[in-house]
Protein backbone atom coordinates (compact mmCIF):
# COMPACT_ATOMS: atom_id res chain seq x y z
CA UNK A 1 0.00 0.00 0.00
CA UNK A 2 1.29 3.36 -0.88
CA UNK A 3 0.54 5.67 2.02
CA UNK A 4 1.05 9.34 1.72
CA UNK A 5 1.30 11.10 4.98
CA UNK A 6 0.16 14.66 4.78
CA UNK A 7 2.16 15.91 7.72
CA UNK A 8 5.45 15.02 6.15
CA UNK A 9 4.63 17.21 3.23
CA UNK A 10 3.71 20.09 5.50
CA UNK A 11 6.13 22.91 5.25
CA UNK A 12 5.89 25.89 7.51
CA UNK A 13 6.22 28.85 5.19
CA UNK A 14 9.34 30.82 5.90
CA UNK A 15 8.31 34.36 6.82
CA UNK A 16 11.62 35.66 7.99
CA UNK A 17 11.87 38.06 5.07
CA UNK A 18 8.31 39.36 5.46
CA UNK A 19 7.62 42.30 7.77
CA UNK A 20 6.72 41.26 11.33
CA UNK A 21 2.95 41.14 11.07
CA UNK A 22 1.30 40.61 14.45
CA UNK A 23 -2.21 40.36 12.97
CA UNK A 24 -1.09 37.55 10.70
CA UNK A 25 0.50 35.79 13.66
CA UNK A 26 -2.69 36.24 15.70
CA UNK A 27 -4.66 34.62 12.90
CA UNK A 28 -2.51 31.51 13.37
CA UNK A 29 -3.76 31.09 16.96
CA UNK A 30 -7.42 29.97 16.96
CA UNK A 31 -8.02 30.73 20.65
CA UNK A 32 -7.17 34.42 20.27
CA UNK A 33 -10.53 35.00 18.59
CA UNK A 34 -12.32 33.87 21.74
CA UNK A 35 -14.41 36.11 23.97
CA UNK A 36 -14.35 35.93 27.77
CA UNK A 37 -17.42 37.32 29.58
CA UNK A 38 -18.35 38.90 26.26
CA UNK A 39 -14.99 40.71 26.07
CA UNK A 40 -12.21 40.06 23.63
CA UNK A 41 -9.65 37.76 25.23
CA UNK A 42 -6.45 39.58 26.21
CA UNK A 43 -4.11 36.75 27.07
CA UNK A 44 -1.17 37.98 29.11
CA UNK A 45 -0.43 34.80 31.05
CA UNK A 46 2.12 33.43 28.61
CA UNK A 47 4.70 32.90 31.33
CA UNK A 48 2.40 30.24 32.76
CA UNK A 49 1.63 28.70 29.38
CA UNK A 50 1.51 29.99 25.83
CA UNK A 51 -1.34 29.48 23.39
CA UNK A 52 -0.98 27.08 20.47
CA UNK A 53 -0.70 27.94 16.79
CA UNK A 54 -2.70 25.97 14.27
CA UNK A 55 0.55 24.42 12.98
CA UNK A 56 0.95 22.60 16.32
CA UNK A 57 -2.70 21.62 16.63
CA UNK A 58 -2.75 20.30 13.05
CA UNK A 59 0.52 18.40 13.34
CA UNK A 60 -0.73 16.58 16.43
CA UNK A 61 -4.16 15.89 15.01
CA UNK A 62 -2.72 14.56 11.77
CA UNK A 63 -0.46 12.14 13.62
CA UNK A 64 -3.38 10.80 15.64
CA UNK A 65 -5.66 10.63 12.63
CA UNK A 66 -3.33 9.07 10.12
CA UNK A 67 0.03 7.98 11.49
CA UNK A 68 -0.34 6.83 15.04
CA UNK A 69 1.28 3.73 16.55
CA UNK A 70 3.72 3.05 19.35
CA UNK A 71 7.37 3.60 18.53
CA UNK A 72 10.69 1.79 18.93
CA UNK A 73 9.12 -1.65 18.96
CA UNK A 74 6.86 -2.48 16.04
CA UNK A 75 8.15 -3.90 12.81
CA UNK A 76 5.03 -2.63 11.10
CA UNK A 77 4.84 0.32 8.81
CA UNK A 78 3.18 2.85 11.12
CA UNK A 79 5.48 2.10 14.03
CA UNK A 80 8.61 2.45 11.95
CA UNK A 81 7.37 5.60 10.35
CA UNK A 82 6.38 7.25 13.63
CA UNK A 83 9.67 6.19 15.22
CA UNK A 84 11.39 8.16 12.46
CA UNK A 85 9.18 11.15 13.10
CA UNK A 86 9.80 11.03 16.84
CA UNK A 87 13.54 10.96 16.24
CA UNK A 88 13.18 13.75 13.69
CA UNK A 89 11.47 15.78 16.38
CA UNK A 90 14.43 15.17 18.67
CA UNK A 91 16.75 16.33 15.89
CA UNK A 92 14.66 19.49 15.41
CA UNK A 93 14.90 20.24 19.14
CA UNK A 94 18.66 19.56 19.11
CA UNK A 95 19.20 21.90 16.20
CA UNK A 96 17.04 24.60 17.80
CA UNK A 97 19.22 24.54 20.93
CA UNK A 98 22.39 24.00 18.91
CA UNK A 99 23.14 20.78 20.77
CA UNK A 100 26.13 18.81 19.50
CA UNK A 101 23.92 15.84 18.66
CA UNK A 102 20.30 14.68 19.05
CA UNK A 103 21.68 12.14 21.53
CA UNK A 104 22.19 15.02 23.95
CA UNK A 105 18.44 15.70 23.98
CA UNK A 106 16.44 13.71 26.54
CA UNK A 107 12.69 13.99 26.17
CA UNK A 108 10.88 14.38 29.48
CA UNK A 109 7.46 15.45 30.68
CA UNK A 110 8.37 19.05 31.55
CA UNK A 111 11.23 21.17 32.91
CA UNK A 112 10.43 19.99 36.42
CA UNK A 113 11.03 16.40 35.39
CA UNK A 114 14.22 17.41 33.58
CA UNK A 115 15.64 18.94 36.76
CA UNK A 116 14.46 16.02 38.87
CA UNK A 117 16.21 13.70 36.43
CA UNK A 118 19.53 15.45 37.02
CA UNK A 119 18.99 15.48 40.79
CA UNK A 120 17.96 11.83 40.95
CA UNK A 121 20.51 10.43 38.50
CA UNK A 122 23.57 12.67 38.45
CA UNK A 123 22.99 14.02 41.95
CA UNK A 124 22.53 10.68 43.66
CA UNK A 125 25.55 9.20 41.97
CA UNK A 126 28.02 12.04 42.27
CA UNK A 127 27.03 14.02 45.36
CA UNK A 128 27.77 13.27 49.00
CA UNK A 129 27.16 14.88 52.39
CA UNK A 130 28.65 18.35 52.61
CA UNK A 131 28.76 18.92 48.84
CA UNK A 132 27.31 22.26 47.84
CA UNK A 133 24.75 23.20 45.19
CA UNK A 134 24.45 26.86 44.26
CA UNK A 135 21.01 28.21 43.29
CA UNK A 136 19.74 31.81 43.10
CA UNK A 137 17.18 33.74 45.08
CA UNK A 138 14.83 33.87 42.11
CA UNK A 139 14.41 30.18 41.39
CA UNK A 140 11.10 28.56 40.57
CA UNK A 141 10.19 25.85 43.09
CA UNK A 142 11.11 23.34 40.37
CA UNK A 143 14.75 24.36 40.79
CA UNK A 144 14.65 24.38 44.58
CA UNK A 145 12.67 21.39 45.78
CA UNK A 146 14.57 18.63 43.87
CA UNK A 147 17.79 19.85 45.51
CA UNK A 148 16.13 19.99 48.92
CA UNK A 149 15.04 16.39 48.46
CA UNK A 150 18.67 15.55 47.71
CA UNK A 151 19.69 17.53 50.78
CA UNK A 152 17.35 15.47 52.93
CA UNK A 153 18.58 12.24 51.38
CA UNK A 154 22.31 12.87 51.07
CA UNK A 155 23.11 15.84 53.26
CA UNK A 156 24.15 18.17 50.44
CA UNK A 157 24.15 21.88 51.23
CA UNK A 158 22.22 24.52 49.25
CA UNK A 159 23.80 27.95 48.81
CA UNK A 160 21.77 30.86 47.52
CA UNK A 161 23.03 33.65 45.25
CA UNK A 162 21.37 36.94 46.21
CA UNK A 163 19.82 39.46 43.84
CA UNK A 164 19.77 43.23 44.19
CA UNK A 165 16.55 45.19 44.61
CA UNK A 166 16.17 45.60 40.86
CA UNK A 167 16.39 41.83 40.45
CA UNK A 168 19.89 41.63 39.00
CA UNK A 169 21.80 38.42 39.60
CA UNK A 170 24.83 39.42 41.68
CA UNK A 171 27.83 37.93 39.91
CA UNK A 172 30.35 38.98 42.57
CA UNK A 173 28.35 37.34 45.33
CA UNK A 174 27.92 34.30 43.09
CA UNK A 175 31.66 34.01 42.53
CA UNK A 176 32.27 34.21 46.26
CA UNK A 177 29.89 31.30 46.85
CA UNK A 178 31.86 29.04 44.51
CA UNK A 179 34.16 27.09 46.79
CA UNK A 180 36.08 23.85 47.04
CA UNK A 181 32.87 22.01 48.01
CA UNK A 182 30.68 23.38 45.22
CA UNK A 183 29.64 20.50 42.98
CA UNK A 184 26.85 22.03 40.93
CA UNK A 185 25.43 25.40 39.94
CA UNK A 186 21.69 25.22 39.18
CA UNK A 187 20.20 28.61 38.33
CA UNK A 188 17.51 30.07 36.17
CA UNK A 189 18.31 31.51 32.76
CA UNK A 190 15.41 33.98 33.16
CA UNK A 191 13.24 34.64 36.20
CA UNK A 192 9.57 33.76 35.78
CA UNK A 193 8.63 36.56 38.20
CA UNK A 194 11.08 39.39 37.56
CA UNK A 195 11.96 38.68 33.95
CA UNK A 196 15.64 39.01 34.79
CA UNK A 197 17.85 37.33 32.21
CA UNK A 198 20.80 36.00 34.14
CA UNK A 199 24.37 36.40 32.81
CA UNK A 200 24.44 32.73 31.85
CA UNK A 201 27.67 32.76 29.89
CA UNK A 202 29.52 34.40 32.74
CA UNK A 203 27.88 32.07 35.27
CA UNK A 204 29.09 29.07 33.28
CA UNK A 205 32.57 30.51 32.73
CA UNK A 206 33.14 31.19 36.42
CA UNK A 207 31.90 27.73 37.40
CA UNK A 208 33.91 25.93 34.74
CA UNK A 209 37.05 27.76 35.84
CA UNK A 210 36.64 25.73 39.05
CA UNK A 211 35.56 22.52 37.32
CA UNK A 212 31.92 22.88 38.41
CA UNK A 213 29.11 21.86 36.01
CA UNK A 214 26.13 24.17 35.46
CA UNK A 215 22.42 23.47 34.97
CA UNK A 216 20.26 26.26 33.60
CA UNK A 217 16.48 26.34 33.94
CA UNK A 218 15.55 27.75 30.56
CA UNK A 219 11.76 27.50 30.75
CA UNK A 220 11.26 31.24 30.34
CA UNK A 221 14.48 32.23 28.57
CA UNK A 222 14.19 29.88 25.62
CA UNK A 223 10.80 31.35 24.69
CA UNK A 224 12.04 34.92 24.54
CA UNK A 225 15.16 34.53 22.46
CA UNK A 226 16.10 30.89 22.09
CA UNK A 227 19.28 29.33 23.40
CA UNK A 228 22.63 28.22 22.04
CA UNK A 229 23.80 25.61 24.51
CA UNK A 230 27.19 25.22 22.89
CA UNK A 231 27.85 28.94 22.88
CA UNK A 232 26.91 29.04 26.58
CA UNK A 233 28.93 25.84 27.10
CA UNK A 234 26.28 24.89 29.67
CA UNK A 235 26.24 21.29 30.95
CA UNK A 236 22.52 20.79 31.48
CA UNK A 237 19.66 22.86 30.09
CA UNK A 238 16.04 22.21 31.05
CA UNK A 239 12.93 23.62 29.42
CA UNK A 240 9.28 22.82 28.92
CA UNK A 241 7.35 22.62 25.65
CA UNK A 242 4.08 24.29 26.56
CA UNK A 243 5.55 27.73 27.20
CA UNK A 244 7.18 27.58 23.74
CA UNK A 245 3.78 27.35 21.99
CA UNK A 246 4.01 23.54 22.05
CA UNK A 247 1.79 21.02 23.82
CA UNK A 248 1.78 20.16 27.53
CA UNK A 249 3.45 17.06 28.94
CA UNK A 250 6.66 17.43 26.99
CA UNK A 251 9.90 18.82 28.28
CA UNK A 252 13.54 18.62 27.38
CA UNK A 253 16.75 17.98 29.21
CA UNK A 254 19.84 18.84 27.24
CA UNK A 255 22.94 17.22 28.72
CA UNK A 256 26.48 17.13 27.42
CA UNK A 257 27.13 13.67 26.00
CA UNK A 258 30.05 13.02 28.34
CA UNK A 259 27.89 13.79 31.39
CA UNK A 260 24.85 11.81 30.26
CA UNK A 261 27.08 8.82 29.52
CA UNK A 262 28.17 8.65 33.17
CA UNK A 263 24.67 8.90 34.57
CA UNK A 264 22.63 5.92 35.74
CA UNK A 265 18.98 5.51 34.68
CA UNK A 266 16.37 7.68 36.32
CA UNK A 267 13.39 5.39 35.91
CA UNK A 268 13.28 1.74 34.91
CA UNK A 269 11.02 0.16 32.35
CA UNK A 270 10.62 -0.52 28.68
CA UNK A 271 12.57 1.25 25.95
CA UNK A 272 15.51 2.10 28.20
CA UNK A 273 17.00 -1.40 28.39
CA UNK A 274 19.48 -3.24 26.21
CA UNK A 275 18.81 -6.66 27.71
CA UNK A 276 16.71 -7.92 30.59
CA UNK A 277 16.92 -11.17 32.51
CA UNK A 278 15.72 -11.67 36.05
CA UNK A 279 19.37 -11.79 37.12
CA UNK A 280 20.68 -8.74 35.32
CA UNK A 281 19.58 -5.89 33.12
CA UNK A 282 21.78 -3.74 30.95
CA UNK A 283 20.78 -0.27 29.85
CA UNK A 284 20.80 1.50 26.56
CA UNK A 285 22.94 4.51 25.80
CA UNK A 286 21.60 8.03 26.36
CA UNK A 287 19.17 9.47 25.60
CA UNK A 288 17.12 6.22 25.46
CA UNK A 289 18.44 5.25 28.90
CA UNK A 290 16.45 8.14 30.38
CA UNK A 291 13.24 7.57 28.47
CA UNK A 292 11.61 4.60 30.17
CA UNK A 293 8.18 3.65 28.91
CA UNK A 294 6.21 5.04 25.99
CA UNK A 295 7.33 8.65 25.56
CA UNK A 296 5.15 11.65 24.66
CA UNK A 297 5.28 10.81 20.95
CA UNK A 298 2.53 13.05 19.65
CA UNK A 299 3.68 15.86 21.94
CA UNK A 300 7.27 15.61 20.67
CA UNK A 301 5.98 16.05 17.13
CA UNK A 302 3.85 18.94 18.36
CA UNK A 303 6.87 20.60 19.98
CA UNK A 304 8.88 20.18 16.79
CA UNK A 305 6.02 21.87 14.91
CA UNK A 306 6.10 24.73 17.43
CA UNK A 307 9.83 25.11 16.93
CA UNK A 308 9.39 25.13 13.15
CA UNK A 309 6.73 27.77 13.61
CA UNK A 310 8.73 30.14 15.82
CA UNK A 311 11.75 29.72 13.57
CA UNK A 312 9.67 30.53 10.51
CA UNK A 313 8.98 33.89 12.12
CA UNK A 314 12.42 34.29 13.61
CA UNK A 315 13.39 34.18 17.29
CA UNK A 316 15.17 37.53 17.03
CA UNK A 317 12.12 39.23 15.61
CA UNK A 318 9.84 37.67 18.21
CA UNK A 319 12.19 38.91 20.93
CA UNK A 320 12.28 42.41 19.43
CA UNK A 321 8.49 42.58 19.30
CA UNK A 322 8.22 41.39 22.91
CA UNK A 323 10.82 43.91 24.03
CA UNK A 324 8.77 46.66 22.42
CA UNK A 325 5.70 45.47 24.36
CA UNK A 326 7.71 45.27 27.57
CA UNK A 327 8.98 48.85 27.19
CA UNK A 328 5.51 50.11 26.35
CA UNK A 329 3.84 48.22 29.21
CA UNK A 330 6.51 49.32 31.70
CA UNK A 331 5.91 52.95 30.73
CA UNK A 332 2.10 52.69 30.78
CA UNK A 333 1.89 50.81 34.07
CA UNK A 334 4.47 53.18 35.51
CA UNK A 335 1.94 56.00 35.05
CA UNK A 336 -0.58 54.31 37.35
CA UNK A 337 -0.52 55.82 40.82
CA UNK A 338 0.29 53.37 43.60
CA UNK A 339 1.43 50.68 41.17
CA UNK A 340 4.81 49.19 41.89
CA UNK A 341 6.76 47.18 39.33
CA UNK A 342 8.94 44.31 40.56
CA UNK A 343 12.00 43.55 38.48
CA UNK A 344 13.86 46.28 36.66
CA UNK A 345 17.01 44.36 35.88
CA UNK A 346 19.31 45.57 33.12
CA UNK A 347 18.42 42.61 30.92
CA UNK A 348 14.84 41.43 31.03
CA UNK A 349 12.54 39.23 29.05
CA UNK A 350 8.92 40.28 28.49
CA UNK A 351 7.60 39.64 31.99
CA UNK A 352 6.11 42.39 34.12
CA UNK A 353 5.27 41.74 37.78
CA UNK A 354 3.48 44.40 39.74
CA UNK A 355 1.48 45.16 42.84
CA UNK A 356 -1.09 47.85 43.49
CA UNK A 357 -1.00 49.67 46.79
CA UNK A 358 -3.59 48.34 49.21
CA UNK A 359 -4.88 45.71 46.79
CA UNK A 360 -3.96 42.04 46.91
CA UNK A 361 -2.85 40.50 43.61
CA UNK A 362 -5.78 38.08 43.69
CA UNK A 363 -8.25 40.90 43.76
CA UNK A 364 -6.41 42.53 40.85
CA UNK A 365 -6.53 39.24 38.94
CA UNK A 366 -10.23 38.66 39.58
CA UNK A 367 -11.27 42.17 38.62
CA UNK A 368 -9.30 42.41 35.38
CA UNK A 369 -10.37 38.89 34.43
CA UNK A 370 -13.91 40.27 34.16
CA UNK A 371 -12.57 42.56 31.43
CA UNK A 372 -11.21 39.53 29.57
CA UNK A 373 -7.62 40.19 30.66
CA UNK A 374 -5.79 37.06 31.82
CA UNK A 375 -2.76 37.53 34.05
CA UNK A 376 -1.21 35.39 36.74
CA UNK A 377 -1.77 36.42 40.34
CA UNK A 378 0.00 34.68 43.17
CA UNK A 379 3.44 33.60 44.27
CA UNK A 380 4.37 32.16 40.86
CA UNK A 381 5.87 29.03 42.43
CA UNK A 382 8.65 31.24 43.76
CA UNK A 383 7.80 31.74 47.43
CA UNK A 384 11.39 32.43 48.57
CA UNK A 385 11.55 35.26 46.02
CA UNK A 386 8.23 36.67 47.26
CA UNK A 387 9.74 36.66 50.74
CA UNK A 388 12.75 38.57 49.38
CA UNK A 389 10.45 41.10 47.69
CA UNK A 390 8.40 41.44 50.87
CA UNK A 391 5.03 40.74 49.27
CA UNK A 392 2.75 37.69 49.55
CA UNK A 393 1.93 37.77 45.87
CA UNK A 394 2.22 39.82 42.70
CA UNK A 395 0.22 40.13 39.53
CA UNK A 396 2.21 39.26 36.44
CA UNK A 397 1.65 40.15 32.81
CA UNK A 398 3.84 38.10 30.50
CA UNK A 399 3.93 38.80 26.78
CA UNK A 400 4.14 36.61 23.72
CA UNK A 401 4.68 37.18 20.02
CA UNK A 402 0.95 37.62 19.42
CA UNK A 403 0.34 40.36 21.97
CA UNK A 404 -0.17 43.96 20.94
CA UNK A 405 0.14 47.46 22.35
CA UNK A 406 -3.66 47.65 22.23
CA UNK A 407 -3.74 44.70 24.65
CA UNK A 408 -1.41 46.58 26.98
CA UNK A 409 -3.91 49.45 26.80
CA UNK A 410 -6.71 46.99 27.68
CA UNK A 411 -4.70 45.89 30.72
CA UNK A 412 -4.22 49.50 31.81
CA UNK A 413 -7.94 50.22 31.38
CA UNK A 414 -8.83 47.13 33.41
CA UNK A 415 -6.46 48.24 36.17
CA UNK A 416 -8.48 51.46 36.22
CA UNK A 417 -11.48 49.39 37.33
CA UNK A 418 -9.38 48.00 40.18
CA UNK A 419 -8.69 51.55 41.33
CA UNK A 420 -12.34 52.43 40.92
CA UNK A 421 -13.38 49.59 43.22
CA UNK A 422 -10.64 49.97 45.80
CA UNK A 423 -10.61 53.75 45.56
Amino acid sequence: MNMTVATNLRQTADRRNDPFDVERIRADFPILGKEIYGKKLVYLDNGASAQKPRAVIDAMREVMEGEYANIHRGVHYLSQRLTDRYEQARATIAKFMNAGSPDEVVITRNATESINLVAASWGRKFLAAGDEIVVSEMEHHANIVPWQMLRDEKGVVIKVVPIDDAGNFLLDAYERLLGPKTRLVAVTHASNVLGTITPAKEIVRLAHARGIPVLLDGSQAIVHGGVDVRDLDVDFYAFTGHKLYGPTAIGVLYGKAALLAKMPPYQGGGDMIADVTFEKTTYREPPARFEAGTPPIVEAIGLAAAIDYVQSIGMDRIAAHEQDLLRYATARLGEIEGLRIFGTAREKCAILSFAMEGVHAHDVGTIIDRAGVAVRAGHHCAQPLMERLGVPATARASFAMYNTRAEVDALVAALGTVQEIFG
Binding site: H360, H362, D363, I421, F422, G423
Partner: protein, 154 residues
Amino acid sequence: MADDLRELYQEVILDHGKRPRNFRHPADANREAHGNNPLCGDRLVVFLKVDDKGVIQDAAFEGRGCAISTASASMMTEMLKGKTAEQAHRLFDAFHRMCTTDSHGDVPADLADDLEKLQVLSGVRQFPMRVKCATLAWHTMNAAMAGQVETSTE
Protein backbone atom coordinates in the same frame (compact mmCIF):
# COMPACT_ATOMS: atom_id res chain seq x y z
CA MET B 1 -18.25 47.53 35.58
CA ALA B 2 -19.72 44.05 35.77
CA ASP B 3 -22.53 43.57 38.29
CA ASP B 4 -20.97 40.44 39.74
CA LEU B 5 -17.83 42.46 40.54
CA ARG B 6 -19.94 45.03 42.38
CA GLU B 7 -21.61 42.22 44.25
CA LEU B 8 -18.27 40.63 45.16
CA TYR B 9 -16.60 43.84 46.25
CA GLN B 10 -19.36 45.44 48.31
CA GLU B 11 -18.54 48.34 50.61
CA VAL B 12 -18.73 46.14 53.71
CA ILE B 13 -16.12 43.80 52.30
CA LEU B 14 -13.82 46.59 51.20
CA ASP B 15 -14.13 48.17 54.63
CA HIS B 16 -13.32 44.96 56.52
CA GLY B 17 -10.57 44.24 54.01
CA LYS B 18 -8.88 47.56 54.62
CA ARG B 19 -9.60 47.84 58.34
CA PRO B 20 -9.89 44.32 59.67
CA ARG B 21 -11.42 44.01 63.15
CA ASN B 22 -9.74 41.93 65.83
CA PHE B 23 -6.48 41.95 63.90
CA ARG B 24 -4.27 41.11 66.86
CA HIS B 25 -2.69 38.33 68.90
CA PRO B 26 -4.47 38.06 72.28
CA ALA B 27 -2.02 37.08 75.02
CA ASP B 28 -4.61 34.89 76.74
CA ALA B 29 -5.66 32.89 73.67
CA ASN B 30 -5.82 29.17 74.40
CA ARG B 31 -6.60 27.89 70.90
CA GLU B 32 -4.66 28.75 67.79
CA ALA B 33 -4.35 27.38 64.27
CA HIS B 34 -2.48 28.36 61.14
CA GLY B 35 -4.37 28.49 57.86
CA ASN B 36 -2.61 28.30 54.56
CA ASN B 37 -3.82 28.48 50.99
CA PRO B 38 -0.96 26.85 49.09
CA LEU B 39 -2.44 27.94 45.78
CA CYS B 40 -1.88 31.62 46.44
CA GLY B 41 0.41 31.71 49.46
CA ASP B 42 -2.11 33.40 51.73
CA ARG B 43 -1.58 32.64 55.38
CA LEU B 44 -3.36 33.54 58.55
CA VAL B 45 -3.46 32.58 62.20
CA VAL B 46 -6.72 32.40 64.13
CA PHE B 47 -6.57 32.87 67.92
CA LEU B 48 -9.42 31.86 70.21
CA LYS B 49 -10.02 32.08 73.91
CA VAL B 50 -12.45 29.37 74.92
CA ASP B 51 -13.67 29.15 78.52
CA ASP B 52 -14.35 26.05 80.64
CA LYS B 53 -17.91 25.85 79.38
CA GLY B 54 -16.76 25.75 75.75
CA VAL B 55 -17.88 29.31 75.04
CA ILE B 56 -15.66 31.49 72.83
CA GLN B 57 -14.70 34.55 74.88
CA ASP B 58 -12.37 36.13 72.34
CA ALA B 59 -11.51 35.63 68.68
CA ALA B 60 -8.80 37.36 66.66
CA PHE B 61 -6.54 36.80 63.70
CA GLU B 62 -3.32 37.88 62.04
CA GLY B 63 -1.89 37.27 58.60
CA ARG B 64 -2.07 38.48 55.07
CA GLY B 65 -4.46 37.81 52.29
CA CYS B 66 -6.73 39.33 49.70
CA ALA B 67 -9.71 41.57 50.43
CA ILE B 68 -12.08 38.60 50.46
CA SER B 69 -10.11 36.43 52.88
CA THR B 70 -9.30 39.37 55.17
CA ALA B 71 -12.90 40.57 55.25
CA SER B 72 -14.18 37.08 55.89
CA ALA B 73 -11.72 36.57 58.76
CA SER B 74 -12.59 39.97 60.21
CA MET B 75 -16.33 39.36 60.13
CA MET B 76 -15.90 35.88 61.52
CA THR B 77 -13.99 37.09 64.58
CA GLU B 78 -16.75 39.61 65.29
CA MET B 79 -19.37 36.87 65.28
CA LEU B 80 -17.62 34.18 67.25
CA LYS B 81 -17.57 35.94 70.60
CA GLY B 82 -20.16 34.40 72.89
CA LYS B 83 -20.76 31.38 70.66
CA THR B 84 -20.46 27.82 71.85
CA ALA B 85 -18.28 25.35 69.96
CA GLU B 86 -21.43 23.76 68.62
CA GLN B 87 -22.79 27.09 67.35
CA ALA B 88 -19.46 27.99 65.77
CA HIS B 89 -19.46 24.71 63.96
CA ARG B 90 -22.99 25.17 62.64
CA LEU B 91 -22.18 28.70 61.54
CA PHE B 92 -19.18 27.39 59.63
CA ASP B 93 -21.36 24.78 57.93
CA ALA B 94 -24.06 27.23 56.96
CA PHE B 95 -21.54 29.78 55.70
CA HIS B 96 -19.74 27.17 53.64
CA ARG B 97 -23.02 26.18 52.02
CA MET B 98 -23.76 29.81 51.28
CA CYS B 99 -20.43 30.19 49.46
CA THR B 100 -20.72 27.06 47.39
CA THR B 101 -24.38 26.40 46.63
CA ASP B 102 -27.40 28.43 45.69
CA SER B 103 -29.66 26.71 48.21
CA HIS B 104 -28.96 27.77 51.76
CA GLY B 105 -30.88 24.99 53.42
CA ASP B 106 -32.57 25.75 56.71
CA VAL B 107 -31.20 28.78 58.45
CA PRO B 108 -30.93 28.05 62.17
CA ALA B 109 -32.84 30.71 64.11
CA ASP B 110 -29.99 31.43 66.54
CA LEU B 111 -27.64 32.17 63.61
CA ALA B 112 -30.02 34.03 61.33
CA ASP B 113 -28.58 37.51 62.06
CA ASP B 114 -25.00 36.39 61.50
CA LEU B 115 -25.83 34.61 58.26
CA GLU B 116 -27.63 37.67 57.02
CA LYS B 117 -24.49 39.73 57.58
CA LEU B 118 -22.38 37.07 55.89
CA GLN B 119 -24.59 37.30 52.80
CA VAL B 120 -22.20 40.00 51.51
CA LEU B 121 -19.59 37.30 51.02
CA SER B 122 -21.87 35.01 49.05
CA GLY B 123 -20.86 36.81 45.83
CA VAL B 124 -17.90 34.42 45.68
CA ARG B 125 -20.26 31.79 44.31
CA GLN B 126 -19.81 33.49 40.94
CA PHE B 127 -16.02 33.23 41.33
CA PRO B 128 -15.20 29.57 42.03
CA MET B 129 -11.47 30.29 42.29
CA ARG B 130 -12.18 32.64 45.19
CA VAL B 131 -14.33 30.41 47.40
CA LYS B 132 -11.22 29.25 49.23
CA CYS B 133 -10.35 32.86 50.00
CA ALA B 134 -13.71 33.34 51.71
CA THR B 135 -13.54 30.11 53.68
CA LEU B 136 -9.85 30.00 54.72
CA ALA B 137 -10.39 31.73 58.09
CA TRP B 138 -13.37 29.48 58.82
CA HIS B 139 -11.48 26.29 58.09
CA THR B 140 -8.73 27.60 60.34
CA MET B 141 -11.20 28.40 63.12
CA ASN B 142 -12.60 24.90 62.80
CA ALA B 143 -9.10 23.46 63.11
CA ALA B 144 -8.38 25.61 66.16
CA MET B 145 -11.58 24.43 67.86
CA ALA B 146 -10.68 20.82 67.03
CA GLY B 147 -7.24 21.31 68.55
CA GLN B 148 -5.31 21.05 65.29
CA VAL B 149 -2.56 23.56 64.74
CA GLU B 150 -2.30 23.57 60.95
CA THR B 151 -4.89 23.57 58.27
CA SER B 152 -4.90 24.08 54.56
CA THR B 153 -7.59 24.73 52.02
CA GLU B 154 -6.10 22.10 49.72
